[in-house]
């Protein structure tokens, strides 16, 4: 038996021959909202000659920023701005962090396609998501329980929605937390009384987006043009954060994504170009 084990080891050794590590790449990590977008841009970017290739991974805005603090990533992608304590951490680790807006995203509030309700005010949204309003009939719909879906606390999408639409109030205890946008879409498409929020790029024919009003008078639909013109109120910037020390190494990629080619990919993927 030991002979077998030793033989196994010897055959495996060349497989694991130590070679140069994956040192020369640009590591991008963070928000799952920006993940598919960044991946597509990276794919196009990597095809060019003579560029430092880009490696992309997800985990959530918080994960990316933590990795930037610890120095395990070059760029942190985030769907929310830095929190105060994160800024403090950067200062403590002597990192000067620069922020670049690479695209904008509209947050769309979605419900099941069969839901009669088609528009809600911000106050109604706040009351629904905090659990004050619990039945659809209170906002003009059928007599059915409202099932609230939200993202997990590590999500930038969650933070943004909480801060801007809910005025920093906490979600209802009974809200269902899903760990990824895809799960929210899946769940809402199969639950009649459901309501949730996702980035505009993810809205598909299985869910119905609502028009939102911040002044109870004008209801705006979440469309690309409304978001670009600024009429749609729930719009947020998507960020890349990086250490200015690495700026030279990262510049090619960052300028690529901000260029016409990069922004065209942004638009194709369902996000709003920065210009």
């Amino acid at each position: 038996m030991k002979a077998v084990n030793i033989r196994l080891l010897l055959t495996a050794l060349p497989l694991f021959a130590a070679a140069a590590a994956l040192g020369n790449t640009i590591k991008v990590k963070g928000s799952d909202t920006t993940l598919p977008l960044t991946q597509m841009v990276a794919e196009a970017f990597n095809k060019q000659k003579g560029v430092t290739p880009v490696a992309v991974t997800g985990g959530g805005s918080g994960v990316g920023i933590s990795a930037l603090v610890e120095g395990t990533t070059d760029i942190a992608m985030s769907s929310r701005p830095l929190k105060f304590h994160e800024k403090v951490k950067f200062q403590a680790n002597k990192l000067v962090v620069k922020e670049v807006v690479i695209a904008k995203d509209a947050l769309s509030v979605i419900v099941h396609p069969s839901n009669k309700v088609g528009k809600l005010t911000r106050q109604q949204l706040e009351d629904i998501f905090t659990g004050k309003i619990t039945n659809w009939k209170e906002v003009g719909g059928a007599d059915a329980r409202i099932i609230v879906y939200t993202r997990e606390t590590s999500s930038g999408t969650y933070e943004f929605f909480k801060e801007h639409v809910m005025n920093k109030k906490n979600f209802a205890r009974t809200a269902l937390s899903m760990s990824a946008t895809g799960s929210i879409i899946q769940s809402i498409s199969q639950t009649k009384g459901a309501i949730g929020y996702v980035g505009l790029a993810y809205v598909n024919k299985h869910v119905k987006p609502l028009a939102v009003s911040y002044d109870s008078k004008n209801y705006v639909e979440p469309t690309l043009s409304n978001a670009q013109s600024g009429k749609y109120p729930i719009t947020r910037p998507l960020f890349y954060f990086f250490d200015t020390k690495n700026e030279a190494k990262l510049k090619p990629f960052i300028s690529y994504i901000l260029s016409a080619k990069g922004q065209a990919i942004v638009k194709k993927d369902g996000y709003i170009p920065v210009k």
Partner: protein, 402 residues
């Protein structure tokens, strides 16, 4: 000469074996220490974000606020100071960003140099204010009163009902609903998978003919190789809507879905290991029993099962471990709502799912991070208790082999 050489080799190999055992032990201890050390740090911290304080006007008689009260105040559910022991005045919330409602950006200064003074003015001028501000802007001349920070107590952690780890100003770390959620889902998963698994193991080992067994064994082992994410999907796309339709519920993400998926995931482990154990019962013992006039079934439950009880216990423990610790699949089908489950048909939130979902966000060393480890430590203790119980039961039934 040859003898001493052989002896030397023997000692050497025994040494290697001993080393392996030691490595395993050390690793296990390391993980346990890691869990508990990080987790215990939780109780040395307050739940308020580091670097922030709560301040009130000097004339306010309230001297302290509990974590829960702070949350309710900032959520707009407690609206009058009277409700927390103060005067009958409405509570006025203030976040540091609100300073622009009172002063212009020029007055504040480009680098916020005037901010401490202005903050002090605002707090002093509004008697019913409660201000959530960074500590660095509260200087010696601050005219308000800073409320003392309260450390999280063991009782608040274990019995608190609300889990809002990122809430500002006061994060809520009430793990009770998480603990009960985990126990509830795991309990049903074990209740479903243990009898089911054991039955299949007995069938495969004793009753089925060899062709059927040779077909079943790889099939069951294949179940073990299906990724947990796929189980999660299967659960979300097939089981959850089925439950929703079957029981006419508003939402299908329930504890039942979680238990079912966990049971299916634990099955291969339980079945294969039990089956191995049952099959190694010496034929002599079985034939002796049959010779005495027992039926096949009686032989099974009076002779074979007690003989293999150690192996079955191992199967149970490993299977239960899988059921309690499973992360990804549960994350997708139970809805993750932090409420105390009152039935199988409601969403729940389990500890592993919580750790998985929030681990990425929690800054290393922060309160949230430590809270997640404390949760892990609780899970470890739960598994330990269950394992001790299973071991105890199996020991009672064991026929001594040595």
């Amino acid at each position: 000469m040859k003898n001493t050489f052989k002896r030397f080799i023997e000692r050497f190999v025994e040494g290697i074996l001993f080393l392996s055992g030691t490595i395993t032990t050390i690793t296990v201890l390391l993980i346990v220490v890691f869990l508990f050390r990080e987790g215990s740090g939780l109780f040395n911290n307050s739940t308020m974000e580091k670097g922030f304080v709560l301040a009130i006007n000097k004339s306010n008689p309230v001297s302290k606020l509990s974590s829960y009260e702070i949350k309710e105040i900032f959520d707009g559910k407690i609206t009058s100071w009277k409700q927390v022991g103060g005067k009958d005045q409405p509570i006025q919330l203030f976040h540091v960003e609100d300073i622009t409602n009172y002063y212009t950006e020029e007055q504040i200064g480009a680098n916020f140099e005037n901010l401490p003074k202005l903050l002090s003015n605002v707090v002093d001028s509004i008697p019913n204010i409660v201000a959530f501000v960074p500590e660095m802007y509260v200087d010696k001349s601050f005219k308000g009163r800073v409320l003392p920070e309260k450390k999280l107590t063991l009782k608040e952690f274990f019995f608190g009902r609300e889990w809002f780890p990122t809430s500002q100003p006061a994060a809520q770390f009430g793990a009770f609903s998480l603990i009960t959620g985990t126990l509830w889902v795991s309990l049903w998963a074990i209740l479903i998978s243990l009898p089911l698994g054991l039955s299949v193991a007995i069938y495969m080992a004793e009753i089925a003919n060899p062709k059927v067994r040779n077909f079943l064994k790889p099939v069951i082992e294949l179940l073990a190789g299906i990724p947990s994410v796929v189980y999660g999907f299967f659960g979300l796309i097939v089981i959850v809507p089925t439950i929703q339709r079957l029981f006419d519920l508003p939402v299908g993400e329930t504890a039942l879905a979680g238990s079912l998926i966990l049971a299916i995931m634990a099955l291969p482990t339980i079945i294969t290991i039990s089956e191995d154990a049952i099959r190694t019962t010496p034929r002599a013992m079985k034939e002796a029993s049959l010779a005495l006039g027992a039926t096949h079934w009686q032989t099974i439950y009076k002779v074979v099962l007690p003989y293999s009880s150690s192996g079955i216990a191992a199967a149970a423990i490993l299977g239960i471990g899988r059921a309690i610790g499973e992360t990804m699949a549960v994350l997708m089908v139970t809805g993750n709502a932090a409420i105390i489950p009152s039935s199988l048909l409601e969403p729940v939130r389990t500890i592993p799912a919580t750790i998985a979902a929030e681990m990425g966000e929690a800054p290393q060393g922060g309160v949230h991070f430590e809270a997640l480890f404390a949760l892990g430590a609780i899970l470890f203790i739960m598994t330990l208790i269950i394992n001790i119980v299973v071991d105890f039961i199996s020991n009672k039934k064991k026929i001594s082999k040595r």
